[in-house]
């Protein structure tokens, strides 16, 4: 079979058109690089549109006591101190500028009385910190970046007579392989979804911004795009993944009715006064406040209720605990038989606020449930339960440049596909600002990497031929299984055995089953032709989902403690010794290899932002002694 392959030459290729990808592309183009943006779906539809709550940035518009140090502290606490401290620091320092910058691109956030950007409360954040637009912040973010790219294209049109002279969007295009020249990135290979034709991008620098992996789970808020492509591309190119055992299960996804299963109920429902009740009508979160948080959270319903109007003199309601605590509490209630028939609990805002107020504060939530499920949230409680939502793990990167670790050079990663920033658990709202902060850095450093290159790496023809063969294989087989059946089996394994609560035996079982699936996936066959054939597309995505799932299962088996987005029933406590360890996955041939790697050390100036009593819960005695020595020195 002869195959026609379209070729393009770019300086920087950005894979992914979500917040991170678009921000990276803008920066690369501003640095004068010829930039391509590649996306599996249409321009402006990436997963980022779904983010609702807001983007966290310590601008201090609502409470002037907020600053980057408080934000940094919250982020580290949320991540249970497993975060890469440098990423958390850069993020806390730079996110206000990144948000303000969006206003110069035309974004319209909700305002405070004095005309500044309004900020709202969110679980895990000490002060109101989330810049937002109603409950469609992600849409605003992606539309703003999309329109900024259009404005750059208009500039190019004026200067060069062509909109696409320096920045071009390839929508509905999927990258299946990164191509290397030695250890240097030389390009990316993929296909147009519309036509099934192949396309080759030759480029010395690639930015991965492909988002997450949630499609490997049964109940998930994620769309079909989230098949872990970027994670798998990085692995195959010789980069490493860290923290893959940490997955966030959103505590409150709808579990019933089916048309809204997996759809999230934003956390702001709880921020605005919503409470969780079990089937007995008990407000159960008071029973689940961990010791670590006791000081900040209310002990009685009365105190909790006072907090909404007077946050300075009361402690916050336990419904606003970090999301993993909430998810675990719901899971325990359901397992103890106090859940609803569909396996969830009740989230009640109807009895707490007047209907008018609910409609005003949560307009799209109200409409969504009214139209999709005929549920009126101003009248009845919602049925919610844990839903796979976000992967903390991802490509191990250098914090300042976003360059991928491992052998490969010229590969950068930002957004959900990168790892380290959020440690073992991400705070709500920290992702949108993460996309902007590290998206910008990735674009900037990809551009300067290209400047520093002596020779442009070359794509080798045999590599391209191999990529073509691999892509066509599922279409040419007609004996294998259907990709949809295989995906269902994979989702069952991950959902049942590597889900929110994990056990040794089940994880071992999962690895055996994933091994068996691997053989079946290698023989998958897709019916139909090459034009817009979703069966074929899924068949190609499966191997990515599989290798990423293997990383998660392996790392989850190795980490014998519970922390953030990783809960082991057989090791229910957090172990300070494990805090010092990152689990790093790489590929050895086609097998996943897992290694332990020490975490970078917190420098003194950041160390001192915490109280000793708090640190004592996370650190080993040895580390505490160091802290004491530092404190002594400072006196």
């Amino acid at each position: 079979m002869t195959t026609r392959i379209e070729r393009h030459h770019y300086d920087v290729v950005v894979i992914g058109a979500g917040g991170a990808g678009l921000r990276a592309a803008i920066e690369a183009r501003l640095a004068g690089k010829k930039t391509a943006i590649i996306s599996k779906s249409l321009f402006g539809k990436a997963h980022t549109v779904m983010a609702e709550g807001g983007a966290a940035a310590a601008m201090g518009n609502v409470n002037s006591r907020d600053n980057w140090m408080v934000h940094f502290r919250d982020t580290m606490r949320g991540g249970k101190f497993l975060n890469n401290f440098r990423m958390a620091e850069l993020h806390a320092k730079e996110s206000p500028s990144r948000i303000w910058e969006l206003e110069t691109y035309g974004a319209l956030f909700d305002r405070t009385k004095s005309g500044k950007i309004s900020q709202r409360n969110f679980g895990g954040h000490e002060y109101p910190r989330l810049a937002h637009v109603g409950d469609r912040t992600g849409l605003e973010l992606i539309r703003t970046l999309q329109q900024k790219i259009v404005s750059l294209q208009q500039e190019d049109k004026r200067e060069h007579g062509d909109y696409e002279a320096r920045i071009k969007v390839f929508s509905e295009t999927t990258i299946t392989e990164l191509l290397l020249d030695g250890d240097r990135v030389a390009g990316a290979f993929g296909y147009y979804r519309e036509s099934g034709e192949f396309v080759l991008f030759s480029a010395p620098a690639v930015v991965l911004a492909t988002g997450g992996v949630g499609r490997s789970y049964k109940v998930t808020s994620n769309s079909w795009e989230y098949t872990g492509d970027g994670h798998a591309l990085a692995l195959r190119a010789g980069a490493t993944l860290i923290n893959m055992e940490f997955l966030q299960f959103h505590p409150t996804g709808m579990v019933w009715p089916p048309s809204v299963k997996g759809i999230l109920v934003t956390e702001s429902v709880r921020g605005d006064g919503g409470v969780l009740k079990n089937s007995e009508g008990k407000r159960f979160m008071f029973d689940y406040v961990p010791d670590l948080f006791r000081r900040q959270y209310a002990e009685t319903e009365e105190e909790a209720d006072r907090w909404y109007t007077d946050p300075d003199n009361n402690r916050r309601p336990p419904e606003l605990l970090p999301r993993d605590e909430v998810a675990r509490a719901i899971n325990s209630e359901v397992k103890a038989g106090r859940g609803t028939p569909a396996g969830g609990v009740l989230l009640d805002i109807a009895s707490r606020l007047p209907a008018e107020e609910i409609r005003r504060r949560l307009p799209s939530m109200y409409h969504q449930f009214k139209e999709l499920a005929d549920v009126d949230i101003t009248k009845e409680p919602m049925e919610v339960g844990p839903t796979c939502h976000y992967v903390m793990g991802g490509v191990e990167v250098d914090p300042d440049t976003a360059a991928a670790a491992g052998r490969v050079q010229g590969l950068f990663a930002a957004g959900e596909v990168s790892g380290g920033m959020h440690g073992s658990n991400r705070l709500g709202g920290n992702s949108l600002s993460d996309l902007l902060v590290f998206g910008k850095r990735a674009g900037e450093h990809a551009a300067s990497y290209v400047d520093g290159l002596g020779r442009r790496p070359q794509v080798a023809t045999p590599d391209v031929e191999a990529a073509v063969d691999a892509a066509l294989a599922p279409l040419q087989r007609d004996t294998g299984e259907s990709p949809y059946a295989l995906q269902q089996d994979l989702q069952a394994v991950m959902g049942d055995l590597v889900g929110i609560i994990r056990r040794r035996g089940e994880l071992e079982d999962a690895l055996v089953r994933l091994g068996a699936l691997r053989e079946r996936v290698a023989k998958v066959s897709a019916a139909g032709g090459r034009r817009y054939n979703p069966g074929w597309h899924l068949a190609l995505d499966l191997r990515n989902m599989l290798v990423v799932s293997e990383c998660t299962a392996k790392a989850a088996l190795e980490r014998e403690e519970s922390r953030g987005g990783h809960t082991r029933e057989d090791f229910p406590t957090m172990e300070p010794t494990w805090r010092r360890v990152n689990l790093v996955c790489s590929l050895d041939g086609d097998q996943v290899r897992l290694e332990r790697k020490p975490l970078p050390k917190l420098p003194p100036e950041l160390f001192r932002l915490f109280e000793r009593a708090e640190l004592a819960k996370y650190l080993t005695d040895e580390e505490l002694a160091e802290f004491d020595a530092l404190a002594e020195e400072a006196k």
């Binding site: 779906s41 691109y105 259009v150 404005s151 519309e194 259907s482 034009r531």
Partner: protein, 352 residues
Amino acid sequence: MGTKRQFKVWRGDENGGELQDYQVEVNEGEVVLDVIHRMQATDAPDLACRWNCKAGKCGSCSMEINGLPRLACMTRMSTFEETETVTVTPLRTFPVIRDLVTDVSFNYTKARETPAFAPPAGVAPGEYRMQQVDVERSQEFRKCIECFLCQNTCHVIRDHEDNKKAFAGPRYFIRAAELDMHPLDARTDRREYAQEAQGLGYCNITKCCTEVCPEHIKITDNAIIPMKERVVDRRYDPLVWLGSKIFRREKGEAPRGSAAITATNTGAGPQLPTVTPVPPAGERSPEADAERAVNWHRAVPAPVAPPVGDNGMLAVSEFAFDRPAAPSPFGDDVRFPMPPNQLNYSHPDQPL
């Protein structure tokens, strides 16, 4: 627990295609997109269909369901009778790529032609100050999820391929209006641009775009009419001119405003298509139904002017009102989407 239901799905590509029959299990609480996914997992693994969020947030899953432009993920199966055949076809206005997927690049081309936000000179990032009431008017338009259902519905391009060059469509009128109303946008020629370069003059305010918008953006009332209105100071627009004439004349006869509103609702404005009577269920073919559901050859509705005040101008009540932008001419208690019998489309089973 599910029951088997009848579906007709258009399968084909730019060379043509046809409606194919599927019998699919449907469970309680499902939407059309759930059913399409089930078809993909069983009978039709290569059925092409766009989707992303399955929550009405991304605007990917636009298609025509029983002839109505809809988001598949927001169309509940419970809105159909159990015995009813549900017919799913791709958007009409855009060229088909395959099955339910169409080439919507027209919209991206128009997006690229609309001048971007112009930041105010001398205001540093972080120094932008705007009041909530001022941003809300533009925010209404920024709710747009780019589903392009309004673009698909607007007869100016739906029925006349050659208009595509000169006409940007309702999605981009609201973009122009959004920037026009943006408190800090530095350009002052947004309305003139809409009139001259976007083809705003082609729009005869049929409001079909507003009717199909899943985000309930009042495209015509809050964006198109105000822009036409204000542009007319400097430019002769026959429609607005005609509109003010009609309403000036009517004013003596009936209380102002209510006349205009009832006119719109009783069909003196946009005509409901005149359709031949529905044959009894046994004699009907779904192909014919799908064809019949929308009256492709309907006369272009006569222009309806907005309700105007004594000075012949639109009421600028949006400034004094308790919600963003002007009150709906349908009455603020009317909810969108409107009941199908008030739309320009007729449901195959709807008695006419």
